[in-house]
């Protein structure tokens, strides 16, 4: 394995890092007015990384880099493409939000770039050390992004809470990693798999549990979800949109890889945990959202709920299940970004966010297009058939049924009916209540484009993508099991 091949395989990460460093210098020497130009450059860099990634996949040059620390396979390319798309969307809508408060600065896109590098490492990690370093890079920049609106008390609170609890979760993961290393004698995924196949002791089991618990925190699965509503509510809305999409995709991909790779021989050791986390997330996400009046808190519970559905695919522990996870993640990213961008566009002429149900009542008369977009997004999140969100749930439940987990699928479907309540409440408030507050001000074209694309993907038109998306996801999932 030559260095040049390794460098080529990690090209997306290296390119993003170098761009981040250059843009950081540019930020340091220019005024805040250059922040928008820096954002455009960062978006271009992410777009370049996306194209590079796809070309890597098309060229079939997938392989392991730096002596097994990093793996660029179809699975990684799939997850990374989602991550980059989500990051691009969140960067496009950020400047206007912060500009309204006079708080936009060039460090924002720079931190997003480094976050993307960290997420790429998480997705491609085939060594526990790469996993941890990627996770920390992504988390550290996320903490800063959460408190980026410094003059807003809630934003600082969100940053601090996320930092303290995230630090705790990192500690839990590290403790698990140390146990796994202690009992297997190696940090590489392949080595761990071999060592565990020979001997899987109680201590190693503890290690696996701790690692999974720490990652469950990062994906906000119950019972490690407590931070989610507070952080999602307090963080600036573009950052919340980011948290709910890109890092979640990366953390789920990391979880899938570690569960099927090094721990793949011990499915029965982690399957119960994942099943519990999946069911608990679905139920808590559905019930917790019912009493919420703040729209961002509501979407936070919705994301907890969705993580539960994603974990059902993992609980099946079959290639079909993993393929379902990937399909669900792809649809979820578009639904989430669409919903949060719609929330971003909901602000009155003075720039105040319309943040509660009272604010958006009667939106269908004051801003019909936005209301119809939100209707599509909410129905899709609820999994109502003509929309694309249904298909994600369908493939995940199908995989669970094929893996003889009919009870799991039945409870999941029942809970998703409960979840549909608050999505439909959203629609009821918009369409059947009298308008109370001010009409939302006109939103810039960039927001409409992002929202329009998201809605187009989740609309019934999205079903045109199913064969293509399904093939890609199947291939990616097979790759995971082939290596394993």
């Amino acid at each position: 394995m030559s260095y040049s091949t390794s460098l080529y395989l990690t090209g997306a990460e290296i390119g993003l890092s170098v761009t981040g460093l250059v843009l950081l210098l540019v930020t340091a020497w220019t005024s805040e007015k250059a922040a928008r130009a820096i954002t455009i450059a960062a978006v271009a860099a992410l777009f370049g990384a996306l194209l590079f990634n796809v070309s890597l996949f098309d060229g079939g040059l997938a392989g392991s880099a730096f002596g097994g620390l990093f793996l660029a396979d179809g699975f990684a390319v799939f997850a990374k493409s989602l991550v980059y798309i989500a990051t691009i969307a969140c960067l496009i809508v950020a400047p206007r939000y912060f500009d309204a408060r006079g708080e936009y600065r060039g460090e924002y896109p720079v931190l997003m770039l480094f976050n993307a590098v960290g997420m790429g490492l998480m997705v491609s990690a085939t060594d526990l050390m790469t996993l941890y370093i990627g996770l920390e890079m992504s988390s550290l920049s996320s903490y800063v992004l959460a408190s980026f609106a410094r003059r807003d008390g809630k934003s600082s609170e969100a940053g601090l809470k996320y930092f303290v609890l995230g630090g705790l979760a990192s500690g839990i993961i590290l403790y698990g990693v140390s146990l796994v290393y202690g009992f297997s004698g190696t940090t590489s995924y392949e080595g761990i798999r071999t060592a565990f196949a020979a001997d899987f002791s109680t201590g190693a089991m503890f290690g696996v549990v701790f690692v999974l618990a720490g990652i469950a925190f990062k994906v906000a699965a119950v019972p490690f979800h407590m931070w989610t509503p507070d952080v999602y509510e307090g963080a600036p809305t573009p950052v919340t949109a980011f948290f709910a999409s890109a890092p979640k995709v990366a953390a789920v991909a990391m979880l899938v890889r570690i569960a099927t790779g090094p721990f793949g021989g011990q499915v029965e050791a982690w399957q119960q945990i994942v099943i519990f986390a999946a069911l608990a997330s679905i139920v808590v996400g559905a019930l917790g959202a019912i009493g919420q009046t703040n729209l961002k808190r509501l979407l936070a519970y919705s994301s907890i709920n969705n993580v539960g559905f994603i974990l059902i695919g993992l609980a099946a522990a079959t290639p079909e299940g993993i393929s379902g996870v990937l399909v669900y993640l792809s649809i979820y990213v578009f639904m989430t970004i669409g919903s949060f961008v719609a929330l971003l566009m909901l602000r009155d002429s003075e720039g105040n966010a319309l943040a509660t149900f009272d604010d958006i009542s009667g939106l269908s008369t004051t801003s019909p297009v936005l209301a119809w977009c939100l209707l599509a997004l909410m129905f899709s999140l609820a999994g109502i058939p003509p929309l694309f969100g249904f298909w994600g749930k369908f493939v995940v439940f199908q995989a669970a049924v094929q893996a003889d987990m009919i009870a799991l699928a039945a409870i999941g479907i029942a809970a998703s009916v409960i979840g549909a309540f608050y999505y439909i409440k959203f629609i009821k408030v918009m369409f059947f209540d009298e308008p109370q507050g001010a009409a939302p001000a006109a939103a810039p074209v960039s927001h409409w484009i992002v929202l329009g694309l998201s809605v187009a993907v989740i609309s019934p038109l999205g079903y045109l993508l199913t064969p293509w998306l399904g093939n890609l996801a199947d291939a990616a999932a097979q790759m995971l099991f082939y290596v394993a």
Binding site: F66, L111, F114, V117, L121, L140, V144, S147, R150
Partner: protein, 206 residues
């Protein structure tokens, strides 16, 4: 012989300064004792041939952590008498915790006597051959096999640094006012003062 003497000297000093850390009345003195303890621990590490860890202890713990402690302790106005007031009240709890720790120690030693814990056997026999020092060995590994992770860890530190600056650095013009020396020098009496001829019984509007 000289090693034995050095060992006992360092060991006694570590324990003595550790005791002083918790008994010193002044928190600043506590931190200074802690620094002494770190130095002696570094000496112990040199004795067992782990000079890299000794260096880390001095650079990281003494150079960064302890100095940070010192700053924090000096900046916080700690009322020592108030801290000690809770001692009697919490004494029973302290005894319980001490007993628990004692039991753990006994258990731990007992378990150790039975036999060592069954850990995996390391597979790291393919690492580079041991060079003359362990600093060299760590460096050789860090800059060859783990170069990628080493650079990535550097990026993490950079992100932490950017974060700290982004969250605390305030632009020069704040509402709390700032000094613009040029503006002060440009001031002249004609602009700075106003002459008013107020009418009797009415206020002045400035």
């Amino acid at each position: 012989m000289i090693q034995t003497i050095a060992f006992y000297m360092f060991a006694v000093l570590v324990i003595a300064s550790a005791v002083m850390v918790i008994t010193a009345r002044n928190p600043v003195h506590s931190v200074l004792w802690l620094i002494l303890a770190f130095f002696n621990a570094a000496g112990l590490m040199v004795l067992v041939g782990a000079e890299f860890i000794a260096m880390l202890l001095v650079i990281v713990y003494v150079g960064a952590v302890a100095v940070l402690f010192l700053f924090v302790v000096m900046m916080l106005d700690i009322d020592v008498a108030e801290l000690r007031a809770g001692f009697v009240k919490n004494f029973p709890l302290g005894i319980v915790i001490a007993l628990v720790l004692l039991a753990e120690l006994v258990l731990g030693i007992g378990a150790y006597q039975v036999g060592s814990i069954e850990l995996g056997t390391p597979m790291a026999s393919d690492g580079p051959a041991m060079v003359e020092s362990n600093t060299g060995a760590i460096g050789a590994l860090l800059y060859t096999k783990y170069l990628f992770l080493f650079e990535a860890a550097g990026l993490i530190l950079l992100v932490a640094m950017i974060g700290a600056i982004v969250l605390t650095h305030r632009p020069p013009k704040t509402k709390r006012g700032h000094q613009d020396i040029g503006k002060q020098n440009r001031r002249n009496p004609n602009e700075a003062t106003v002459m008013k001829q107020p009418e009797v019984g009415r206020g002045v509007e400035l």
